[in-house]
Symmetry: C2
Subunit: 95 residues, 2 copies
DNA sequence: ATATTAATTAGATATTCGCCTAATTATTTA
DNA sequence: TAAATAATTAGGCGAATATCTAATTAATAT
């Protein structure tokens, strides 16, 4: 849980997560989205992986990254502890 | 939103939020819960306030702190963007 | 086999963070 | 008004963080 909070406390990492909503992407494709060197992105991916917010699977010389439910669950769980004390706007139903 | 993510990326601050679930407390009462100097707690309270995760109202020489829905909402909103891509366990109904 | 491409690891550096002690502000009480 | 109490602000310091360049590893293609 510690790791998840740490991971989302950075704009770039949050943007990487946003980007991955579109679906799995390899490290190069991710790096291209940002005005930042590949090593830096690589480091961010590592932290996101440690937090289990993303998964990494190697396919040849590429590594495909995708969102991992697990990390989000740990944040969600923490949040639930407070949600009971507030009323949050329910997401609109999509017809 | 930036401020909220930053604020919850610290154990002490998360514990302060937990403590405030019990209801409003003044700075001294909060500080007593932690093995840390008052100035340090004061600083944590400041960050939580900046993130609108807590409110502060002065009552005489005391300052009463309480949870503020606003900051939690900003986190919730961010989270919702991902919740639609995963299925999260619904909290058990309390009878 | 060699060169190319994808990605990470290593090492350096500037900035931010969390904590402390000391000093300050503001309020209440004697 | 002076002393005591509640809390913050100021300043300093070591640890953690984000970024970069250079070097390394691993896989593909010529």
């Amino acid at each position: 849980m510690e790791a998840a909070f740490k991971a989302i406390n950075d704009v770039t990492r949050r943007e990487i997560l946003q980007f991955l909503i579109q679906g799995p992407q390899n490290a190069g494709q991710i790096a291209k989205q940002f005005d930042m060197t590949k090593p830096s992105i690589s480091h961010h991916l590592d932290l996101l992986k440690q937090a289990q917010l993303i998964d990494a699977v190697k396919k040849g010389q590429f590594i495909h990254y995708s969102l991992n439910k697990k990390g989000f669950e740990s944040i969600h769980q923490w949040f639930q502890g407070f949600a009971q004390h507030f009323e949050f706007p329910k997401p609109k139903i999509r017809l």
